[in-house]
């Protein structure tokens, strides 16, 4: 299959997931509510930490995103499990990697919506500054979101044929995402504290390398994960 065919198939899968999500909001809404709750609880405990409030706020934001993502991943794959809809995708003449790419893209869009919505209470609860340098957060935020979506989609596929896969999300996904969350928190803290590109470049590049490495591995591995 040509590259264009791959992207076309991935686009079709992503469009299907986003259509389902727009219609039902089953992944995004619970994730959003749960993330807001995490932020609220964290704000009660951590908001009055003086100079460290920015760091605490950034950490709380990404913890909220990470935990919310779990809900979005599980729900996104539950759709494939119900009535074995995934079989129909697997029977289509498209490479398994295109299915992963499509599901990753759709999940990333859902997570971006959740993140944008959570950013408002995070700024309010932790009184986070939003200087011009906050723009440095954009590339890192996109890369972190893509990484979470990629790993989540990869392991989410394992939830399709039974409940043990959901356990794996907790056991395997979060440890794998540690470097990504560290990078996201560090870039967020630096960007919101008035840092410049030099302060965020290292972590941003690390996030890019993380996504590239994991992406290549995931695209290769996904077909094997789907095999029964």
């Amino acid at each position: 299959m040509s590259g264009a065919g791959f992207f076309r198939a991935a686009g079709l899968v992503a469009r299907k997931d986003l259509r389902l999500e727009r219609r039902c909001g089953e992944a995004t809404l619970p994730a959003l509510l749960f993330g807001a709750l995490v932020l609220l609880i964290a704000a009660f405990a951590l908001a009055e930490t003086g100079d460290d409030a920015t760091a605490a706020g950034c950490a709380a934001f990404w913890v909220a995103v990470g935990l919310s993502a779990n809900l979005a991943v599980v729900r996104g794959w539950a759709r494939e499990r119900e009535d074995r809809a995934l079989d129909a995708l697997r029977l289509a003449p498209v490479p398994p990697a295109a299915i992963l790419a499509g599901k990753t893209l759709a999940l990333a869009v859902s997570l971006l919506v959740v993140e944008l919505a959570l950013a408002v209470p995070a700024v309010a609860f932790f009184r986070l500054p939003v200087p011009a340098s906050a723009a440095w957060l954009l590339p890192a935020g996109l890369l972190a979101t893509l990484g979470i979506a990629l790993v989540g989609s990869l392991f989410g596929a394992m939830t399709v044929d039974g409940s043990r896969g959901e356990l794996l999300i907790g056991v395997a996904v979060y440890p794998l995402l540690v470097p990504l969350f560290l990078g996201a928190v560090e870039v967020s803290r630096a960007a919101l504290s008035g840092g410049d590109w030099a302060d965020v470049a290292g972590w941003t590049l690390l996030l890019a390398a993380f996504d590239a490495t994991l992406g290549a591995g995931a695209l290769w591995l996904f077909g094997l994960l789907l095999e029964e």
Partner: protein, 226 residues
Amino acid sequence: MERPALPLPALTPVELTGVHRLFGPVPALAGLDLRIEAATLTLVTGPNGAGKSTLLRLLAGLLRPTSGTIRYAGRPLERPDAAAGRAYLGHHTQLYGDLTLRENLALAADLRRLPRDSLDPWLERFDLRAVADRPALACSRGQAQRAALARTFLGDPSLVLLDEPTAGLDAGGDRILRETLAASLQRGAAVVVATHDPTPLAHLAARTVRLSAGRLVAGEPAGGAP
């Protein structure tokens, strides 16, 4: 309903040689040898746990044999786009409940690069026009099964694999299925149907094979080949 024949990937004959499939330590198929010819309907019968569904999922490429080989027109089917001519419907309808029947079929058509206007004839053939824009969740089991069958036949596959396809169908659905199968056979497709009750499709079948405990215990011409 006359439809122009599309170029089909040559997938037949399908040859299974010494196919074993284990689930953990449990053998579902134990050394199966079988040949499936073009333009024939093969009925696969047998009691629960005989390996019928496993056989169909193996032929569909959803499972891999633990050992043994499956060859389609003399070669293994590795490339996904080579599988375009293969269609399978199992015990589940494989529909997204919150998509309409039309959207479910459109997704399948798009993924197989079939024109969108190829949907309407199939919706019509399976008598689904009135409910085509209803979410699958809001359809009856029979309507969902008809939609799943319509999706299976989209693009005129050359290898059609159906597991208990009459489940949930009323008399009208049964008739449509038989007519559609007859048309597929006339086009040259190979059809394999796993069923507990071979009677409704017996007149179309060229052969009935019986599985027991993962082994072929009988395989005889059924007569009445199309």
